[in-house]
Each structure stands twice: as C-alpha cells, then as structure tokens.
Amino acid sequence: MTSLDEARSLLREFPVVDGHNDLPYALREQVRYDLDARDIATHQNAHLHTDIPRLREGGVGAQYWSVYVRSDLPGAVPATLEQIDCVRQLIARYPADLRAALTAADMEAARAEGRIASLMGAEGGHSIDNSLGTLRGLYELGVRYMTLTHNDNNDWADSATDEPNVGGLSAFGREVVREMNRLGMLVDLSHVAATTMRAALDTSTAPVIFSHSSSRAVCDHPRNIPDDVLERLPGNGGMAMVTFVPKFVLQAAVDWTAAADENMRDHGFHHLDTTEAAMKVHRAFEETNPRPVATVATVADHLDHMREVAGIDHLGIGGDYDGTAFTPDGLNDVSGYPNLVAELLDRGWSRSDLAKLTWQNAVRVLGAAEDVARGLQETRGPSHATIAELDG
C-alpha cells in the first residue's frame, strides 16, 4: 500500500476538519450568491478551489465556512448576515453532502452519517460593530468562532498586519473574549498581532484556535504564530490549524511578494490593485521574477516544527481555500489533503497522531469550549458592557 492509499484510508475514518474556507465570499464576489451559477455539486475547477466532489476526494469531514466580509467597507453586520444566509442556503441545497453543525456532537453525527459537518466562523471583530448584542446574535445564528481581527485593526484589537494601536486587546476587547467564552464561541487568533494573541490567551478561560496560521519560526511572516505563543497552547488546550498560503509559509514566497508589492508601489499602484493597468505591471514583474512554488513538504515542515513546540494534541489544518489566489503544489485545492497526510506518514507520523491532526483535536476543542460556556452560564448573565464604557 502506498502512503497515499494509507492516507486515504485514514481519512475515511478520521476525515479533515478544516478551519477556514472562503467559499461563501467567493460566491458573493463572483456571482452575488447566484448558487445556480456555481453549482458546487459539480466540478467548479475553473472558478473555485472548493466543490463537493473535491471535498469528498480530499477526505473533508467538517468545514468551518468563513462568513468573512471586508473590514474596509461600511456595513459589516448586514454583509455578515448575508454570508450566514449563503452558508445556510448551501446546506439546504446539498442536504446529502452537507449537514449544519453547531456542536462537537453534531460534528460526530455528521461523520457517522458520512456528511460534511458545516460550521461557521466570522473572520474579524468588525463583524460585530462593537456590539456584544450583535456578537450574541451571531452565536444564535450558528457562528462558532470569531477571528478577533482581519487585516486591519478594529477599535479593540490589534491586527498582525496593521500598526500597533491598543497594544493587544483593549478593556472592551477582553470583555469580547470573556463573552465569547460564556457563549461557547471559539476565540480565533489568526490574523491578530502577537500582542493580541498573548492578551487573548491571558484572558480566555476556554481553548483558543488559530483557524489558519502557520509557524513564524519556520517562515517569518506576521500572519504566523511565534513559538512563545505556540508553547502556551498545551496549557490553554487550544489548537493551531496550519495554513497553506504560499506567501505565509515559504520564505522565498514571502520575499518575492514583498518585492512584487514594492514594484507595484514603484509604478504608482496600491499593492492589492487588480485593475488592468496594475495587473500588466504585475505580470511583467512575474515574467522576469518567477513566482516561488510552495509544496506539500513546505507545509509539512511547519507541522513538524509546530508539533515540536505545541505538541500533537494542539494541531489542525486550515487551508484558506478560496481565500487566496495561489496554493502549494500538491495542495492545489480541497482535494489535496491526502497528499499532506501521505507526506506526514512518510515522515513517520503515526496513524493516531494523524487522527488527532485531522479530526480529533478540532472536535475536542469545540466540545471543551461548550463545557466552559456551560460552566460560565451558571454564574454569569450576558454582558451589557459597551466600548464607550470600557475604553472611554
């Protein structure tokens, strides 16, 4: 039996829980939620990283669908509700393959039925617009993690890719974390500044997650997790879900991206500009400077290191498919997970290690957050704090 066969057989038993997939946002941007135009029951290779045939091929058993909305536009709350509506419509449309999941028990039930447990995660604290009532509304609607920031700071938390502002979490930011603990919504520390990671770990009484982040020691990028934070995961009980995004995981790609962005600015464009004129400049750059290619081994290197630092009980996978333009060779779309598992088998990871990585850790962490919430709800009612009260 090749290691790929063995990987597939393992995934049949312990499928992948993926921490982050931006299919809803891709549907919003590409077709304004016209789900007929992107029927994910059929192959959508031309448009998307994600569809049901490839999720099946990839051995995915649970997916946190991201209900991400942009943080630089007004109206994050209504847009987030539309994203939630989109996920619900997907679940209603493909009932043989997707099953709504709100709890760890739902995830296990979906696995037993052979359906893909569909959970939701909000990507960025801007989605609650500084309102704990709105946070509770999102929980009620099924959102089970919230990333504290996206690429920009919000009023109460610093992002990894913005200038330091409140120095981690403000008083209101800590109250948001406490309220998430009380609700049983996982605190997601991807995208946040290292100061925010530490402040959240100091505050949270429930396990935290990194829904899609890799190791900063292996590849120095602010989106990755420093070792001192990874070291705290065993004490906290949470998990880091390794991401595949080449410009975060491969040092050559980090450097290449920095050079490409610099080149764009030299030509007078914003580095995220996708207009025709800007893309022309970008293509010219790419012609003379070939894009470095990440591979399955690149991601496995991160996992090997993260395992050294955080331990096997605190790892998971968060591919960020449909949230990024480029993907590593061998992990090109959601059908690629077996290649990663095969690579890890070749590196000597045992079946029980891999079962933890793909399935067991993620289910344990959500269940633990539920337990903490039940305990807190015994003694605490909902918080009515406002940002004006706490942060002045």
């Binding site: 509700l81 509506d85 509304g137």
Partner: protein, 368 residues
Amino acid sequence: MADLQHDIPTTTEVGREDRLPDDPFPVESGAAFLERAHALLEAYPVADGYSGLPRALGPLPWYDLELGETAVDTDVPRLREGHVGALFWSLPVPEGDRGDRGGRAVRATLEQLDLVRRVVETHPEGLRLVRTAGQVIDARNCGRVAVVLGPASAAALDDSLGILRVLQSLGLRVLSLAGAAWAGAQGLTRFGEEVVREMNRLGVLADLSGAPEAALVRTLALSKTPVLCTRSAAAAVRPHPANLSDGLLARLGEQKGVCMVPLAAEQTGPSLADVAGHLDHVRAVAGPECVALSGTYDSGVAHPRDLDDASRYPHLIAELLRRGWSDTELSLLTWGNVQRALRSADFTARAAQYRRDPNPPRPADPEA
C-alpha cells in the same frame, strides 16, 4: 365557543331608561358589563398588536416584570389583570440609525432581538417567546403571555432578502413596510414585490401602518396572506396620517386583513369612548373579522383616559358590550382575528416553501 355560551344577563338592559345623561356607566349595569367583559376575555384574551416594551426596558438598569414594574406601562400582573394573552413586541430602529449605510439599523435590530430573548428568559413564569399560531395557543394553555416578535422596522432589512431570512430565523414574525424606499408613494418597486413574496414564503406578516396608500393597496393585491395595520384607526372618525380612509378600510376588509386600532390619544381621540367609536367604525366598514387591538403601551405615545396601562382592556370591552357588540364579534376583536392572520401566514409559508426557492439576497450589486 363553549366558553362564550354562558347566560347573557338581561338585567343590564333594564337599567338603560333610568340612566342619568351625564353618567355613562350606571353603577349596576356598568358593573355587570365589566363582569361580562372579564368573562369574555377569560375565554378570548387580548392579542395586543404593538408593544414598545423592549425599547422602554433597554435603558433601565434593572426591572422585574413578574413582580410588577412601575417604570413601564406593561408588566405581568397588569397583563394578567387586563387579560392579555399575546403581545407583539415592536423592534423599532432608533431614528439616528435609519438609512445609515454602515448597517447600524441591522445592528440595532440584532441588539433588540438579543434584549427580547433576555427579557423573556428572565421572566419564564410570565412570558414565552413564540413563533407560530400553534405556539401562541400552547403558551396560553400554559398560562404564559405569548410574545410575538415584530413589527420590526423595514430599515432592519438593509434592502437584503438574505437579512430578511436571517431575521426570520431569529423569530421575527412581523415586518413594517413603512419608511422603506421600495414601498413608497408609487406602490411597491419590483424589489419591494420580491420582499413581500419572500415574506409570504417565510411566514413574516406585513405591517402597513404608516406606509403610503399605494404601497398598502399593492401589498393587499400581492400578498397571499392577510396583511396587518398594527397601528391604524379610522381617518373618517379622526384624521391622522397613520389612520385609514374608508376606502382603504373597505379594501382591507375585502382581503381579510386586520386593522389594529391603537390605544393612542393622538390617533383615536382622548377618551375611551373615542376608541370605541373607531372600533365601531372599523367594524362597520372593514367588517368584524378585520378589526383588532393594539395597546401601543411603552411606545412613547399618550393613551386615552381610562386606558393608561395594559390592565385596562376589560373597561374597553365593557364599553363595546354596552354598544351592542356581540360575544362573537368581541372574541374576534380581541383574539380571533390576530390568530387567523398568524395561522394563515404559517400555512402560506408551509405551502410556498415547496414551490419557491429563496432568491439571492440583493437584486443588484450594492458595491457597483
């Protein structure tokens, strides 16, 4: 109906000739009417179409609705005294948040829904959150006041059908179309029509009080289920922008919609008799199956004399008895018509969900 077929005391008719001109409630007959009103309401309690309680509770640091709360017009003891069996809790969007492109209206509505859940959870002996007509009955059989969510403000949709579906999943049953750009003086826009169809599909009732006449007419024609006017009296009796003309009342009657007369002095006049006059008129023009009550307590409006809080409904019913309303008509007024509207919406939604798919949230790209 068994509850209604008790003996009707005839003695009340006897005293009529002896009544003094300046005394509308002769002691004996008045007491008898009131007693009958209580008996009637026992069987057919009031379904109150508009309560502002959530917003009134918002700023209070603490409150206890079960023991009694003097800071507001509505609490459980007074609801029981007034025989209120169901309350529609309005979820208005604060003035400053309407029309805001940053989604503050949506946030404000989510916050109100959060508050409502909290209020109901903390008063489990008195209140129960319900969604369907059947659950209203269940709540009543358990001795709880059923709380129905709505009307919410049209601004809460942020012009998105996706948000309508999300709010419905949080329990919303009534949406006001007043103030929506898609329900204006020209009637409904194409998007407005889609909103009404989607509301039908989801079982969310339309509230047309305060909406332009053309929007009401178009919604009446389009909706597969009766519409509500949660705060409208008769314009022929007292002109007011939110009151309905006789023409509209007649159309509402044809479609079996429900005109819920508010206990609001500005719209009805300052006395209990004025309210009764509106009810008489709406019954005559729209029909007895199209009239209901709307307390409007805690919504910031002034109430007619003798109707100053939620405990006063029996006095209004006594007045209507005196005016010759039959027991059947009164049972429809207080309870039956609203139950019919809810039940019809439930049924329409169940039937429509097999035939219609949900649409994409917005008709056009808002970012274009």
